[in-house]
Symmetry: D2
Subunit: 322 residues, 4 copies
Amino acid sequence: MKRIGVMTSGGDAPGMNAALRAVVRWAAANEVEVVGIRRGYAGMIEGEFVPLAPRDVANIIQRGGTILRTARSKAFLEPEGRAEAARRLAEAKIDGLVAIGGDGTFRGAIKMTQEHRIPIVGVPGTIDNDLYGTDFTIGFDTAVNTALDAIDRIRDTAASHERVFFIEVMGRHAGFIALDVGLAGGAEVIALPEIPTGPEEIAEQIRLSEAKGKHSSIIVVAEGAYPGGADTLMKAAQQIHPFEGRVTVLGHIQRGGSPTARDRVLASRLGAAAAETLVSGSSGVMLGEVEGEIALTPLAEAVERRKPIDRSVYDLATVLAE
Amino acid sequence: MKRIGVMTSGGDAPGMNAALRAVVRWAAANEVEVVGIRRGYAGMIEGEFVPLAPRDVANIIQRGGTILRTARSKAFLEPEGRAEAARRLAEAKIDGLVAIGGDGTFRGAIKMTQEHRIPIVGVPGTIDNDLYGTDFTIGFDTAVNTALDAIDRIRDTAASHERVFFIEVMGRHAGFIALDVGLAGGAEVIALPEIPTGPEEIAEQIRLSEAKGKHSSIIVVAEGAYPGGADTLMKAAQQIHPFEGRVTVLGHIQRGGSPTARDRVLASRLGAAAAETLVSGSSGVMLGEVEGEIALTPLAEAVERRKPIDRSVYDLATVLAE
Amino acid sequence: MKRIGVMTSGGDAPGMNAALRAVVRWAAANEVEVVGIRRGYAGMIEGEFVPLAPRDVANIIQRGGTILRTARSKAFLEPEGRAEAARRLAEAKIDGLVAIGGDGTFRGAIKMTQEHRIPIVGVPGTIDNDLYGTDFTIGFDTAVNTALDAIDRIRDTAASHERVFFIEVMGRHAGFIALDVGLAGGAEVIALPEIPTGPEEIAEQIRLSEAKGKHSSIIVVAEGAYPGGADTLMKAAQQIHPFEGRVTVLGHIQRGGSPTARDRVLASRLGAAAAETLVSGSSGVMLGEVEGEIALTPLAEAVERRKPIDRSVYDLATVLAE
Amino acid sequence: MKRIGVMTSGGDAPGMNAALRAVVRWAAANEVEVVGIRRGYAGMIEGEFVPLAPRDVANIIQRGGTILRTARSKAFLEPEGRAEAARRLAEAKIDGLVAIGGDGTFRGAIKMTQEHRIPIVGVPGTIDNDLYGTDFTIGFDTAVNTALDAIDRIRDTAASHERVFFIEVMGRHAGFIALDVGLAGGAEVIALPEIPTGPEEIAEQIRLSEAKGKHSSIIVVAEGAYPGGADTLMKAAQQIHPFEGRVTVLGHIQRGGSPTARDRVLASRLGAAAAETLVSGSSGVMLGEVEGEIALTPLAEAVERRKPIDRSVYDLATVLAE
């Protein structure tokens, strides 16, 4: 391969820029040209291409978001859209693609490969950590630390006011953020999509805490742990056992910010490995880090298999909450 | 005076511990004993008193929240409750009181002085900055920086996704946080209780931005700027001019965290000055910092007069948003 | 004036970009063109000019450093260099200049005005806060908070290990950073250029602390407080009274980082006011904020008069250190 | 076992408190009493014991340092001192010990077991990450992120001034911090004890950068990478090829601060597992996390075997530095 494309797609995640930088610089060191595709599949269809040399990715390793931007594309959901995207890639003499994103990004990649034989290698960039084939996705560690900082702040108020705080963190289908944040934040209860905790259990837990003379609690709730989220869950629990509660939905602050060291190192490793994998002729795989080693997983498997949460960590959090 | 009481009351604010430390250490240096009253007026009625020596306030200057905790008291709203509180203070031989808090705290203090002749001096501890008689309240600077950090994070995503973000910050009656955060965060629009901005203006502003090719915006909204808050405001604007928007309500993370240097310095100055003012025989006043100097304001004036926002800063923010 | 230049010069300070943004956007709103001069006086002599439109300063308000960069220029110290600089400005049809920097920057500006009648207005951008005519310089608040964060970290270790830590902060001629950091960090001793503290006093202070059973201390030392800095001072104190001590020189981390809210607001106000002042025909003045209001001070006075530290804050810190 | 002791020893590390909390709470949940030993081996000899119940470790998971404190003990280096320590443990009916610390701590533990048959289990708490038998030590991730934050700040200035910055990070014998920080911080050169980089190579690298028009560089140097450290290394390089350079020694700020999520999760896992291991009858082992799983390593092996740095990460950093 002489020229490869790189794009970021789906929800942005801290470390995407670090991955992008690694793709560009590894390629340059190996005499492969890189073309950046702006705004994901939308920009691919519209031919928003820009050459990327090593200096173009200077001073971005520490930046949140993605300098290539990202977007949703309705057109790409149709075969005509994908055909146009393939035509644009051919026109620009792009021989293969590194796609940085989450499951939506990879589903699109699978279609492009099936329909138009474009070689594509995926890099897992999403804060949710919900991709099979990598212990951690790029952005997860930063999101967890951002949420944890918020919980540390709220604990100051919870302890001062003797209140129960429900904190909703991201995770519609997966509880990875909630689990790590809950353990690290010393939460009294953690509600996950994988291990549902109903209002009865929460009410009971609060009653027990009160009986022990403990009047402030932190309850961490993953978005998808209860229909209606943390707010509905709290109100249902209050119906069973009244208590003074407050809800905070952390929302989009979890997506941004300068990536942590771990996310930068992971992104650098996976970005470089993705470029190397693509150039060496592989396609249809996602690069991941499993038990400290670089690992390849078929894109289809990465999006379809479910990565389980570590039940022992959940049990540990329960024990340590006292 | 030989023994004074100190309490924190109302919503907690970063820097309350620094103020408390200053009261205790100034008093010790001047041979006055200090008694800490736990849980505000509620603890006063229940006699939750604890002697405070200089070592008891070691290593707290950097902590958010308040080690004395704070609470609401229904009993204190009744004359009988306040009489009981006065009896408790007399019993403990407390000659006067430093009350750290916001307007609710000071209203209670005014009643205690009127009904029971307890000498009380107030220290403005509230993140809202809505007290007359001080340029800044303790906790305001920290809250603004916390909110600003959140906006910086969200801007990463806003810029990457070409979306409009509505960010609701604290401020039910006063727009101080929203104004400073809006200017410092480079917000395109700032909606304040003092200068209402309706959905029409916001829709128009977004339309203009789009016309200039700018697809991401940050709209900072004070809690009390629009009935129903940022969410209602966004939906109303979308009815007028459709756009892709997201709402984030920062909520209680703004209350917590380690205080900034400015809040620690302010709290130290006001705490020490409050102890000195009380011991020297004054009462019924709030200590503040006005134009860099310590200033006294009658408690009644502090809670009743309205401190205006600086219109020129608002106009500047508008010009600088481009 | 139809076209003005803007430059940053001297040591960089957080908030310089925010000031630059304010100059550019105020000017654009008032139909004045802005030319950015790269690398301070060095770039002026070499004609490194770049037009700056409002979009060119988008998304920089939160960035540390200066996008125009800064440099030292030996050539500018000579009359020939300054003549060449003036020629370059005339050639580019630049009618006046906003200079963002510290005393070296302003001394250069004074010469340019004297020798070549270039209208120049100064904006105080330096972390040292050592300019007369403004209560705070741009960058000071950020530097203080950065140093404070470092001290909070070191205190964890100091408390765990029962050691005495000497922390050297910036400030060759002025103790503003040391004073605020010392008070806010709860330092046991603060050594300033303005109020020298010798090894005898420090040894005595440590001896007293030990006698009270307190085995960890924080000593904040301004660079210029003692010949040889914190290291020499500690060793001299150890000669008098042996103790286990450690020195940390914070150094250049104090210069960088995203500016605080306060620095961004100050920079925005002063940048806009500087552009307005220049365009309205004034010259040879520095814009400052004094007691909350914008104030003008002749450049010569700004660099020659000495702004005193607030002795009452120093005394307060001493009392509160217990 | 009915009663176990726990102590922190050696240099403090962020996450020690989280590990301590996990030991105490796991034990309480399993009906084992816990006694805290203050000030490491020094406190053991002096019998500074304190019972620790679950509420005693509330609200410490987020705190840097160690609430048990730590100290060096000369007495413990002698057989008599260790005999006295054993006597104290017996007197307090302590059946076994969890020792949180680094290699010095474990060497002491080995002796106590050999000489006095005290069952001891180790938990790796040290920022240096230089223990065999665990992929990461507790405190390492926090130290790396603290150093990275400093580098991000310095880069602002480096980029603004066109200077070369040498940043010395901790690591006398091991380059783990330098390697991760160097890669994540985008350093141009990384000097490690394991892979020495002399002044010639650095001078050559700077010369090449200048030839490419790049005038600012970041050089990360581990303490033990060059005799005399970063300062000596820089001066030697300047002798070969003159450049404007600055040195910053990060020092003790790397030890403190609130632990990251990763460190809190790791500390919680290892602390609980250590208590469980000890109670179940094992001794003379260190708990670690290897490839995501809890692993046991003999204490002797943990301190004697050398954990290698990952050469591929070093090579990657070199490629990505452009």
